[in-house]
Symmetry: C2
Subunit: 227 residues, 2 copies
């Protein structure tokens, strides 16, 4: 695996979207696609697509376009989707359940091997065949099972402590839904989903466009008065 | 409201994180804070903090630091959090329920006014006092209630059509959890949470660091053989 070298972060960030669109094309039975068609579909310029995909060398052929399946597989390899990851979910609330019930993750190689909670009402329940275990069993579980990724869907008051425990157990990647910064060593990967921050970006943009409409309206009124 | 002008997108992107940390400081009873202390807390350089917060002019005072509450309120205004937004949730599955149950959103001014689904088992249920309505009632509801934001938590096969319906009803902002691009007019805001793309960034980073460890190991072996 030498694909990782020399690909810029900007390109890497765009790969999941390519991967998704190529997957949809495969589902539709499309075998090959030109950069122009892909461009229309993805609402990105064709030159951007050629530039991005050229990073992997020789995927596209003049007059033929891209072999969808080949490109899909190659991008999958670069994204590390050619292997399996064992994921645990800490917190069996609605969010934890939503993730556990999302079968597509498993299809992409993210296997949910354990779900943990402290709530006696949840413990012992099963979500898609995976039992909800007591948090006290975490250490024992980790000594018998490899944990590649931990999804943290507990309230923020518990998240930091839970992450500390998991770091001690050797977990190297966190998918953090708690609205708090996890303090983990530098070699540990944290991918955070801060839902409140999403909402703040929406409110910022909504209030900005309202203000702009207000200013435009004010501008028109002024212009009207001047006549 | 003229705060929006001249603030770079990069700064705007960082504001929600400032807002969160300042909120935590208020909860802890902290009245003022120096850029140095805030820097340590947020793991950002103090000069970055001064630069960011200088955008709003005169929030910090030499030898006094920042007034936490004032800064919190000002950033809140810039983020449009000084008003209320009516949000509907389309899809009362686990993810929709998780969002509906998150009381913090409401505290920040995002009021959940309606929840919709097509599943007869959900319709009529109540989530935190908000009834789950039949999707067929969406148009009637929209004519009687302002909808500022729609959270889309339906499967991707339904998401595009649902968004089209909502755009026709005048909804100007979407919080999209479906793993698909919504085709909306340019003046409509879409904030997407693509959970699979999160996972792909994790798998990319995990496989990259595994490869790096592999190469380091290989390098050592080679060095060893050379001796």
């Amino acid at each position: 695996m030498g694909e990782h070298r020399n690909i810029s972060n900007a390109v890497i960030k765009r790969l999941p979207r390519y991967y998704r669109h190529l997957g949809e094309l495969i589902e539709m039975g499309t075998e090959r696609i030109s950069s122009g068609e892909l461009s229309k579909r993805m609402n990105v310029t064709a030159s951007q697509i050629r530039q991005d995909l050229n990073n992997f060398g020789g995927f596209g052929q003049q007059g033929y376009g891209y072999n969808v399946k080949f490109l899909y597989d190659e991008i999958g390899k670069i994204l590390g989707l050619d292997r399996e990851y064992q994921m645990v979910i800490i917190g069996a609330g609605n969010l934890g359940r939503a993730i556990a019930n999302y079968t597509n993750f498993e299809k992409s190689g993210f296997v949910i091997s354990g779900i943990f909670d402290i709530n006696p009402e949840c413990i012992g329940q099963s979500i898609r065949g995976v039992p909800v275990r007591n948090m006290t069993e975490l250490e024992t579980f980790a000594s018998n099972n490899k944990i590649d990724i931990a999804a943290i869907t507990v309230p923020k008051s518990a998240a930091v402590e839970v992450a500390d425990r998991l770091v001690k157990l050797g977990v190297k990647a966190f998918w953090n839904f708690a609205h708090v910064d996890l303090n983990v060593p530098e070699d540990v990967i944290v991918e955070s989903v801060h839902l409140s921050e999403n909402l703040m970006r929406i409110s910022y943009n909504l209030s900005k466009s309202e203000d702009e409409r207000g200013r435009r309206h004010y501008g028109k009124e002024k212009a009207g008065k001047r006549i």
